[in-house]
């Protein structure tokens, strides 16, 4: 819930939901999960291999595996939600003008939804295995499962 109230009397009238509490808990729970997912991810992409060697093939191979698809998708959703809610905290703090805050949020949330959509598409809706086995160009218009 955005802060509309400039005065506490207004804030009081607005109160009564547990939404902020829910987000607060979510930040902690998702944070805990992300420690493993994100640090694991970084370990795999930077320590186990040379990040400079990551290429299309690496991606395609990884994204052909259902376990990694799930891993990556959970990481994507959690970190986006976690990060965007964090950004909301920051915007609530820093953008004091209600109108400006509203529009900044519309823009950033749209961007996040877009990224989530594209990311999910690539993870769940795209068959990289085909491209891999042929090791050639992909017909990306197909591949729906």
């Amino acid at each position: 819930m955005a802060i509309r109230a400039r005065r506490y009397s207004q804030a009081r009238a607005q109160a009564g939901t547990n939404l902020e509490l829910a987000w607060w808990v979510f930040m902690r729970v998702s944070g805990l999960v992300l420690v493993f997912l994100v640090l694991g991810h970084l370990y795999m992409a930077n320590i186990l291999i040379n990040a400079g060697d990551v290429d299309y093939n690496y991606i395609a191979r990884r994204l052909s595996n259902t376990t990694w698809k799930i891993y990556d998708w959970v990481m994507l959703s959690l970190s986006l939600l976690h990060g965007m809610n964090g950004l909301r905290y920051v915007l609530d703090d820093w953008v004091r003008d209600a109108r400006a805050r509203f529009w900044t949020k519309i823009v950033t949330y749209s961007l996040a939804v877009l990224v989530f959509f594209v990311g999910s598409m690539s993870l769940l809706n795209h068959d990289f295995s085909k491209g891999l086995s042929e090791n050639t160009r992909l017909e990306h218009s197909e591949g729906t499962r």
Partner: protein, 121 residues
């Protein structure tokens, strides 16, 4: 500048690192997803990403994630235990200790790789 102490800087850095990671995350996802459009698109983007500048940037992102994750755990401890608050200063130093413990080996692994791509070694 207000002369706050450890807690204030822990918070500023947590916020800064959080935003930095988010920004990177958005770019990173789009970048990886570009694989959908085939190897050419993908490889073109990777070419940019493999330049030294971007690699150094990535090291920064790793540092940010590491700090944010460790300090996030500190925040969680403070939120759910009584001693977490009492020992917040010590916990913050602990964060830096663990940070160094993880980050230095990572540097030892990654920096030479970057230098090699730059042709320095």
């Amino acid at each position: 500048m207000y002369r706050g102490r450890e807690g204030q800087w822990a918070f500023f850095l947590h916020r800064l690192s959080g935003i930095a990671i988010l920004l990177y995350l958005l770019i990173h996802v789009l970048n990886i997803s570009a694989a959908m459009w085939g190897p050419e698109v993908s490889e073109r983007l990777f070419a940019i990403e493999h330049t030294p500048i971007f690699r150094i940037g990535l090291v920064g992102v790793i540092a940010a994630v590491l700090y944010h994750a460790l300090n996030g755990l500190r925040v969680i401890l403070m939120d759910f235990t009584a001693w977490g608050v009492r020992l917040q200063r010590e916990l913050w130093y602990g964060v830096w200790l663990l940070f160094a413990l993880f980050f230095v080996p990572a540097l030892i692994k990654i920096v030479p790789e970057i230098l090699r791509t730059m042709g320095v070694i």
